[in-house]
Subunit: 326 residues, 2 copies
Amino acid sequence: MNILVIGAGGMLGDKLVKQLAQAGQIAGQQITKLTRHDVILPPAPPSSDFAIATLMGDVSNVGEAVSVIAEKPDLIFHLAAIVSGEAEADFDKGYRINLDGTRNLLEAIRAIGGGYCPRFIFTSSIAVFGAPFPDSISDEYFTTPLTSYGTQKAICELLISDYSRRGIIDGAALRMPTVCVRPGKPNKAASGFFSNIIREPLVGLEAVLPVGDNVRHWHASPRKAVGMLMHAAEMDLTQMGARRAISMPGVSCTVAEQIEALAKVGGADRVKLIRREPNETIIKIVSGWPEKFDARRASALGFVADRSFEDIIRVHIDDELQGKLA
Amino acid sequence: MNILVIGAGGMLGDKLVKQLAQAGQIAGQQITKLTRHDVILPPAPPSSDFAIATLMGDVSNVGEAVSVIAEKPDLIFHLAAIVSGEAEADFDKGYRINLDGTRNLLEAIRAIGGGYCPRFIFTSSIAVFGAPFPDSISDEYFTTPLTSYGTQKAICELLISDYSRRGIIDGAALRMPTVCVRPGKPNKAASGFFSNIIREPLVGLEAVLPVGDNVRHWHASPRKAVGMLMHAAEMDLTQMGARRAISMPGVSCTVAEQIEALAKVGGADRVKLIRREPNETIIKIVSGWPEKFDARRASALGFVADRSFEDIIRVHIDDELQGKLA
């Protein structure tokens, strides 16, 4: 089993590669090689029983896409993307990376022909949906994105279903919840506070909460997000029929419930480190985001969410803080 | 008002140009120029009070798209497409014309900049939906096309909403019902029989019915289809908000009801000219097609369907047979 991870330099890509290195096999087959691809240099590779190659490049260049596909990987994870804010600020870059990059990969696969039909797992986004929303968004709800990023992801979903139907790939597009608690430093992404208000107090630092306590959102831990990618790589995707885009399960909770979970898991004192500083821009952006999904289709197909936001915090403590709270 | 009609050589394009020539104005503004564009030579232009230019070319070539947009038309009708069957048989051609052609036009518009924001009316298709269907398909139902043609149309819908949101175009994507009665000779399109079984008997010729009488479908006369395009060009599209794709109203009826209407309008004898010759291939294709829409959104926005299938037949007699039955 030869695996290609595009976007391996990102947080999720890095965790996925580590998980694959640790497992040594996937879908009952030994991993013989893994190639990490990204525009940035990924962190040092984990130790593994198989060779890990690292390539730098940009698949929005047709030649680069052809080149990474030339080795005919059996399994491709395509996680590379320009994030929402940047895709909105830079129209050309967003369409080039998020749409043309994906299409270049699909076309490079099609050009090989001769029955080559790799498993192709794509990280889509709940940004394919646009407000106003029903209370709970089903898999049959229409995709009317309100950002160029969401538009690009929705287009890629359509391409992945069509290329799968055509037998060019065996693909799936997973609409990931917001990954929380995101490790690392606070960043300026509008969604950053969902993680900041947990991660920072857990190490005794202040965090800013720019929205109201009643804001509801849809979360998955990095561990469960990687689990979803692994499951999509292993399961029989023909169970999805022609509809290869699917909303992943998650934990729906309000900011108030997040804070309550922090108090339970980390102690009430940590909550005092959350500073309320309403930011009208972020409040407006977040008001257009989905709050809750009816992910029964994914659940029936074996995709698993965290059980609660408390569990999400415990995963962070286990995986990022060596299981210890200072 | 300078108008560009791309795909002017098709049946609908030709009727639209005739309607514009007759009206002389649109949205309260005099038409000063109209350019007909197609890969095939359109029929002779109608007489009009304004200049009609005719260009042959293919907007899937970037340069051609830039060239037709260079004149900065105020209103663009983009009707050009490879039809469903051909887009399925020729993967490259379908994506090139139906997706890249549209994107080239949108990008050529964006490249002009300086506040240029033309009205952009696009003919989408009910093929953006894929079976299984609910009894009646609402505008909030998800787009899961089962053909490459439907995929390409669904992608163009997403692009048109995003480019409209960005202020690059003021666009709308109209999901047209099957246009019936389609004038001309019987063709080999899988949908051809819906028109054949009316048009041919009306002039004393035999027609083949390849499916069962209980097949239900969604129809609009060519006259009403042109009316929908005109309405989209004239109305305030901001009423559509960010959701610029919309299912047009139509007449839902079974083949049996079509035949009943034929008997009422044309006389019972004509029905004897319909020869039942079941064709498993066509039966299978048609079984995946939508039957009925809940087009209340379009109706509320002033789009108008025929009142009955009898009316659809009367339109055909008026517009194609000079109002007379032989």
